[in-house]
């Protein structure tokens, strides 16, 4: 449940940034203005696709996986849990790469990007903790 709520908040953060890139909202609520520097930099696209759009698609996928994991027929499935860990882990690695770019290449911090990195890290942690449930269930049989 926590993963689904976190993923939903990630969808909104990335949708907000993508709407900015599309020019649908004026300026970003970002204090000292680091967000616009980051969002208008050449690193705001990855292999030709807006990073915000990649984030939007990624969080949507995490939301679907989180909700799928709550369905009775998949709630005991390791497959869905594994996919959630893999997807959020990939998202976390991507967020670390983007944070590196902000700190050491662009030299500007976008607080919305930081929020997104925290969200994807939280989804990953929740997914890993949930996965331990299967290990605990398997433990009595293994003894």
């Amino acid at each position: 449940m926590a993963a689904a709520l976190l993923s939903l908040s990630g969808v909104f953060v990335s949708a907000y940034l993508y709407l900015y890139k599309l020019g649908k909202i004026g300026s970003l609520a970002c204090g000292a203005g680091g967000c616009e520097t980051v969002q208008l930099s050449r690193w705001s696209t990855f292999i030709g696709v807006d990073v915000a759009l990649i984030g939007l698609a990624g969080y949507a996928a995490l939301l679907v996986l989180s909700l799928a994991g709550l369905q009775p027929r998949w709630s005991e499935s390791r497959g869905v849990s594994t996919m959630l860990i893999a997807a959020s882990g990939a998202g976390l690695l991507f967020a670390i790469y983007l944070t590196y770019l902000e700190l050491f290449v662009i030299h500007a911090i976008c607080r919305w990007c930081v929020a997104s990195a925290v969200i994807v890290a939280a989804v990953f942690v929740v997914a890993v903790l949930d996965r331990r449930r299967f290990s605990r269930q398997a433990a009595p049989g293994a003894a």
Binding site: A4, A32, S41
Partner: protein, 221 residues
């Protein structure tokens, strides 16, 4: 589980509602800093100039609308300099934008004066923006304050709004910053008198007058 879906659904509706509100609200003006400067940005433009083309002395000022020292100079020293030296034909003044990174509204301020320049009212808007610095520096939406100054000057507000929304002078402002960086400008205000750097302290009216007199004096045979 039903309660969870209710919470998730409510969060989705609230989030979507906030995004829709943001898309529909009137856009705030934002002038980007990291634009790519094109030749068109600087074609035929090297700052805002006031004074006689044949004046023997040219003072070039790099300034930031959100800088308190620049405001002090603009409101206290510059009127006297203008009245006695510029209007007297001894000095030509060239103002160049140098919005500092730590001043988030300075670039929008500079763009506002550029849009006023489109309507031939650059110096009036320049003065109004400096005069209102205390108001807009702390304002949530500085562009709204600049707009009110433009309105007070009687500018064509449709043209002004279009100009601000387009951010068409963002490249020109950035070109001005880059020209200053090339000359070694790292603070504001920075002055150059006939191309030579002069300390800000040297550009009080009295000191500038002495400098102008020395530069204007006929050389001994």
């Amino acid at each position: 589980m039903r309660n969870f879906y209710l919470v998730l659904g409510a969060a989705a509706i609230v989030g979507a509602g906030i995004l829709v509100y943001m898309v529909r609200r009137p856009a705030e003006v934002g002038i980007p800093a990291n634009v790519v400067v094109t030749p068109a940005d600087t074609a035929g433009f090297a700052g805002y100039v006031i004074g006689s083309p044949s004046a023997p002395v040219e003072v070039m000022e790099y300034s930031d609308y959100q800088c308190p020292f620049c405001q002090g100079f603009a409101l206290i020293q510059f009127p006297t300099v203008k009245e006695r030296l510029i209007d007297g034909g001894q000095v030509r003044w060239r103002y160049r934008d140098f919005p500092l990174e730590q001043h988030p509204a300075a670039r929008t301020a500079a763009h506002s004066t550029a849009c006023a320049d489109d309507q031939g009212r650059y110096w009036e808007q320049h003065h109004a923006v400096f005069e209102g610095q205390a108001e807009w520096s702390e304002a949530r939406n500085a562009a709204k304050e600049f707009r009110s100054y433009a309105e007070r000057l009687g500018l064509d507000m449709k043209a002004y709004d279009d100009c601000m929304q387009s951010a068409k002078y963002a490249g020109r402002i950035q070109a001005s910053v880059e020209s200053g960086v090339r000359l070694g400008v790292n603070s504001t205000p920075t002055f150059f008198v006939n191309g030579r750097p002069a300390t800000a302290a040297a550009v009080s009216y009295d000191r500038l007058k002495a400098l102008v007199d020395s530069l204007s004096a006929p050389t001994a045979p």
